[in-house]
């Protein structure tokens, strides 16, 4: 009987010939990513308490991205402690203010098909775009992982989601995920979502990473996309030569899925999720009649400010101005993306339209940094989550949309279908 990709990955990581969904396995961890927020400051005291160090200073990777750059004394102290941890434990891979962890992993060739990786952030699922297992865990569990180098898991069933056809103008990978949050709900815990179909095969890695990132919003263990030549090219661009067997990491044709969905990208329209959850979504055009005034339009986070996202923003803003009474803030997902967007003129288009550029980091997406919102304010955001209080005040309102839709709202001063601004 055929195996799914996740079965193959977990069989390899647990040292077994084969595993079945529902089986409890202990997997060896190939990469453990920890962050300033839930990393050293939580884990170091626990190591002291246990009187041990870490299992492998090549495999434990540290990223400072949540409290960057320090905006208050506590943030400065947390970042200082993070740097001291890296020195003390002789961590070989440390990314200090280089960008948001999930994007930095992809940019630097850390992820290979078939790997088993754990990250101390729920959107670690993003790494699954490389055909590897990468899932999020709490700091308490990552404390265990950096000590033992392994973790228990229940082998998940797989939900197969295939998309066919090309997007219409003004439609993006983000719209797929806001649509799926509504269609599949947020309660797919301990299941994997594997994406396929020609729509996905024609996407760049940055677009594919939107789908795996927001597998977290479906409540899934992780998202997976089987590797192809585009995957291998991205690994090479990160300075790593793909393993010889890289393309063999895929679900068998006769693998068993717990559910299979087929959707047509040609009929998908821009989507918006209303407060206070990503599954509360519908077509952007349906929001127009309510004339929802937008105080802030935010382009940011791991999912929503990659180079492809900034290009979408620029395509809307070119020759237009941000509406008076609305503020546009753009925090590119990484320093590398910031550099590339500066070099190709994208940042100039954004600033000429009246947008403000913020540092690369998790920032306002999680209510941590510059750009949080006040009581009664409305923000439309290219980020992945809009739970109550997520971006600041408990009495604020966050809508989610694609970079096109957020940029269009910045220009209109209210939520609109972006397709009217792309012709």
């Amino acid at each position: 009987m055929g195996e799914t990709l996740i079965q193959k990955i977990m069989a390899r990581a647990s040292g077994k010939a084969a595993v079945m969904p529902g089986e409890i396995v202990t997997c060896a961890v190939d990469l453990a990513m920890i962050l300033d927020s839930g990393g050293p400051r939580k884990i170091w005291p626990r190591l002291e308490q246990l009187g041990v160090g870490i299992y492998d200073n090549e495999k434990v990777i540290v990223v400072a991205d949540h409290f960057v750059p320090a905006a208050d004394p506590q943030s400065a102290a947390i970042l200082k402690l993070t740097r001291e941890f890296v020195k003390k434990f002789d961590i070989k891979h440390f990314y200090d203010m280089e960008g948001i962890c999930h994007v930095v992993m992809a940019e630097n060739g850390h992820l290979q098909p078939g790997m088993f990786c754990c990250g101390g952030d729920s959107h670690s699922t993003m790494g699954g775009a490389f055909g590897c297992y990468m899932a999020g865990f709490g700091a308490i569990e990552m404390s265990g992982v950096v000590v033992t180098g392994d973790i228990w898991s229940v082998v998940p069933e797989t939900i197969k989601v295939d998309w066919s056809g090309a997007f219409g103008e003004g439609v993006a990978a983000k719209d797929i995920m806001l649509f799926l949050a509504r269609e599949l709900g947020m309660e797919n815990a301990f299941k994997v979502v594997e994406y396929g179909g020609d729509t996905i095969r024609n996407m760049s890695m940055m677009e594919r990473m939107v789908l795996t990132n927001m597998a977290a919003e479906l409540g899934a263990e992780t998202g997976l996309i089987a590797p192809d030549e585009i995957t291998l090219e991205a690994i090479r661009a990160g300075g790593t030569e793909p393993a010889a067997d890289a393309l063999e990491w895929r679900s068998d044709d006769d693998a068993t899925f717990c559910a299979e969905h087929n959707f047509d990208a040609r009929t998908l329209v821009p989507q918006v999720a209303a407060p206070h959850k990503p599954s509360n979504s519908g077509p952007a055009e349906d929001f127009e009649k309510d004339k929802i005034h937008v105080d802030q339009a935010y382009i940011g986070a791991c999912v929503g400010a990659k180079l492809t996202d900034l290009h979408m923003v620029a395509s809307v803003l070119k020759g237009r101005q941000v509406k008076s009474g609305t503020r546009l803030m753009v925090a590119p997902s990484s320093k590398k993306i910031m550099r590339e967007a500066a070099a190709d003129g994208t940042l100039a288009t954004i600033t000429e339209a009246g947008g403000m550029i913020l540092p690369s980091g998790c920032g306002a997406c999680a209510g941590l940094g510059a750009g949080i919102i006040a009581d009664g304010e409305v923000c439309i955001s290219s980020t992945n989550r809009n739970f109550q209080g997520r971006m600041g005040s408990n009495d604020s309102f966050v809508y989610l949309g694609s970079p096109y839709t957020v940029a269009a709202a910045a220009v209109a001063g209210e939520i609109v279908d972006p397709r009217g601004m792309l012709s």
């Binding site: 999020g136 709490g138 308490i140 228990w152 989550r385 739970f387 209080g389």
Partner: protein, 173 residues
């Protein structure tokens, strides 16, 4: 780990980890963070919950962020047990790793706020003393039973390290 008895606090579906542990308090000490637990949906919860009290919730409890503070807030407030129709994966793991029993309880709708309830997570029994109803539920998974009995992941690892059963790096000088 013995049975716990406490008053219930009842919440709905899809209560997310952002409202359990708001990001704006991330840099504060744990007692401050815990004092804001669930304030967006019940401002009285954190100041009125008593040690041993039981949380009852609907579907996808703890959905969203990996932040351990969501689970740690309940542990910090000495919550006795959590009974939900279903859990978000990371929150469920965090809760058990902090040694607080989290059980799947399909009949959560039959519990009212401030009922007196006894939970035995090892036997998998729930007794609602207010209504007189008894329930059998799945106990804590077998492979996690020892960890929960010892109080969570850290005591469990400590025991293995002390017994020489775990090989890892040494704490650098």
């Amino acid at each position: 780990m013995s049975a716990v008895t406490g008053k219930t606090w009842v919440f709905g579906d899809e209560i997310n980890s952002d409202v359990m542990a708001p990001g704006i308090y991330f840099k504060e000490p744990m007692d401050v963070m815990a004092s804001h637990c669930l304030e967006a949906i019940d401002p009285s919860f954190a100041s009125n919950v008593k040690p041993g009290d039981i949380i009852v919730a609907g579907r996808a409890f703890g959905v969203g962020s990996a932040r351990e503070q969501a689970a740690l807030s309940f542990a910090h407030l000495n919550v006795g047990a959590i009974l939900a129709k279903s859990y978000a994966r990371i929150f469920y793991r965090n809760m058990l790793n902090f040694g607080v029993p989290a059980l799947i309880f399909p009949q959560a709708d039959e519990i009212n706020a401030q009922d007196e309830v006894t939970v035995d997570a090892i036997a998998g029994t729930i007794e609602n003393k207010t209504t007189g109803k008894n329930y059998a539920v799945s106990p804590i998974p077998e492979h996690l039973m020892e960890m929960i009995s010892l109080g969570g992941l850290m005591p469990f690892l400590k025991k293995k390290i002390d017994a020489g059963e775990l090989k890892t790096g040494a704490m650098p000088k």
